[in-house]
């Protein structure tokens, strides 16, 4: 079986969950090798091996952190050029997507973005994408070069497959373009004790109906009672009530949890694009004609400030 390169998504060596999903998918189509860029490879080795990485290519170069995207593309393209992989999987994040894009141009390879599933097919890896605000499922494959596929979070359940990876340090010859865009400063996002939006089994979101930053506590309390992540519509984010990193939708995060609860959200197409593949959908809205009710498995027409506190109390009672 061919070698599959998996670009590792990490923070100082702490491997993020989507990478484990990618390693799991990679095992279906070949032998996974991790490509680790930046600092902290030692801390990541054990985790990457546990999820099946046979090899780890490490590029520990300052450029990767100091400049935007291009050094990562240089590194991935160089490793790919050397090992001639059967496919390259990268996380569907802003950086991952753009690294994939540049490597695709350089290698003259096809690129498929935002896959929600990857399986072995007759013509190489077959992908599944969810498109047009998740109203269509598309099956596709790459026809030229090395298939480069960006994969959305939650595309697979991470499965352990312990291996003892061979670690190889790679010295990258960076291109002249590598230092073109400087990352002048970096402010890490505020950490919260709640699950990450893309990783949560349950998401509770608030919209314009929440009517103020100070009222979001109503959403948060239900989220905490359920062990859920908190989401928000763009209207709520634009109003400054909740951080953009919590926005669900076309230009925010796309989630697909077991349960999605929308409170005070009307259900615009751009919001639906980010949540309509959720397994179970529940809405609370005071307008019985709100389009969100067309999607729901269960809906309550009512005031969220009455319904949610009662729901929270009831959850805590039943626990």
């Amino acid at each position: 079986m061919g070698e599959i390169l998996v670009l590792v998504d990490h923070v100082d060596g702490a491997v993020r969950k989507p990478t484990l999903e990618l390693l799991t998918l990679a095992r279906r189509i070949g032998e996974p090798s991790a490509v680790f860029l930046g600092k902290g490879a030692d801390a990541a080795t054990e985790t990457l091996g546990r999820y099946g990485a046979q090899k780890i290519y490490v590029v520990d170069a300052a450029e990767v952190d100091e400049y935007l995207v291009v050094p990562k593309a240089d590194a991935l393209a160089q490793v790919a050029g050397a090992v001639n992989p059967a496919a390259i999987l990268v996380p569907s994040s802003p950086d991952g997507r753009e690294v994939g894009a540049r490597v695709a141009v350089r290698l003259g390879s096809g690129l498929i973005t935002d896959a929600v599933d990857v399986v072995a097919g007759e013509n190489g890896p077959e992908t599944e994408q969810s498109v047009f605000a998740a109203t269509y499922q598309v099956r596709a494959h790459v026809t030229k070069g090395t298939p480069i596929i960006t994969v959305k979070p939650n595309a697979a359940t991470p499965e352990e497959a312990p291996a003892t990876p061979a670690v190889e340090s790679v010295a990258v010859k960076f291109s002249a373009a590598a230092t073109g865009t400087k990352v002048v400063s970096r402010a890490p996002r505020e950490k919260s004790d709640r699950p990450e939006l893309t990783e949560a089994d349950i998401v509770v979101s608030g919209g314009r109906g929440v009517n103020g930053a100070e009222n979001f506590v109503v959403i948060e309390r239900v989220a905490d009672a359920l062990g859920a992540a908190v989401g928000a519509s763009r209207a709520a984010v634009d109003a400054g009530w909740y951080p953009h990193s919590h926005q669900v939708g076309q230009t925010g995060t796309q989630v697909s949890p077991q349960l999605y609860i929308a409170a005070g959200i009307s259900g615009a197409i751009q919001h639906r694009a980010g949540m309509q593949t959720s397994k179970t959908i529940v809405a609370i809205n005071k307008d019985e004609d709100a389009p969100i009710f067309d999607l729901v498995d269960y809906g309550v027409v009512g005031d969220l400030f009455k319904v949610l506190p009662q729901l929270e109390e009831e959850i805590n009672k039943r626990k």
Binding site: V69, P94, R97, Y136, V138, T181, V184, Y298, V300, L311
Partner: protein, 259 residues
């Protein structure tokens, strides 16, 4: 200096979008328009000029005959002229091919700054700006929530994978801007009238020196095997809160084992 704004003509996101037999986007049964996310790119170009940077703004689109609608709307918002790359052989082109055509057209026009939207509202890949930078060999400063051009340098704020980043590069460069950069203006009546007189040039692949077998559906680097509509969600029970709405909802969630 020269600013090129790339705008895409896309099927209306609020209509029932779908696919043709060959896996290409159905552009017949749904109205198309200027991708809403590209309005933010147009707005930023206009603001850069209004901030005192002397520049000519050119809009560029690769698309079918009526993609001129997108260019006219952009011109109605402001800016100077437009280029429409249109050729029967372009239909079905993927992101790699589209970026090749755009790059050739941008080079032919001349540029100091290329401004793109963060993603189209149809394909939504969010990769064309990075591909353009790669092909043009200039820096990419992408996914910006805030943009500033000053003294030959473009700076901005990017919501990166795990952190908020301040990024900058010297011009010439390719940038892309998000829907957080600030609402786009509406074309005024005067703007719409003025747009009719602004130059709009049409080009085909020959004009750009691109071989027709480098692009189009047959040359695509990837292929769609099947496109199927997801079954519409079936609407479940909706109750009206008469004092017990929260309890009823809890009962539903408990039955589904979420509690």
């Amino acid at each position: 200096m020269k600013i090129v704004v790339c705008v895409k003509y896309v099927p209306d996101a609020t209509a029932d979008r779908g696919f043709n037999e060959d896996g290409t986007t159905d552009r017949e049964s749904v109205d198309s328009l200027l991708s809403e996310l590209d309005e933010y790119a147009i707005e930023q170009a206009l603001q850069i000029v209004e901030s005192g940077v002397e520049a000519e703004i050119t809009y560029l689109t690769v698309g079918p005959d009526d993609a001129t609608d997108a260019l006219r709307k952009a011109l109605a918002m402001g800016g100077d002229n437009a280029v429409h790359v249109n050729d029967d052989d372009i239909q079905g082109t993927d992101a790699l091919g589209t970026s090749l055509i755009l790059a050739k057209a941008i080079e032919a026009n001349g540029y100091d700054l290329v401004i793109c939207g963060m993603a189209s509202t149809d394909g939504g890949m969010g990769v064309v700006p990075a591909m353009l930078a790669e092909r043009l060999g200039v820096p990419q400063v992408t996914y910006l929530d805030e943009v500033k051009v000053e003294g030959g340098v473009v700076k901005g704020r990017r919501e990166g994978d795990t952190a908020t980043e301040q990024v900058e590069a010297s011009l010439p460069a390719v940038i892309s801007v998000t829907d957080r950069t600030g609402e786009a203006r509406f074309p005024s009546f005067k703007g719409i009238m003025a747009a009719r007189k602004k130059p709009l040039e049409s080009k085909d692949l020959d004009d750009l020196g691109i071989d027709s077998d480098e692009v189009g559906l047959s040359a695509a680097w990837s292929t769609v095997d099947a496109a199927t509509a997801r079954p519409a969600r079936t609407k479940g029970e909706v109750v009206t809160d008469e004092g017990e709405g929260g309890v009823q909802l809890a009962t539903f969630l408990a039955a589904k084992k979420f509690i």
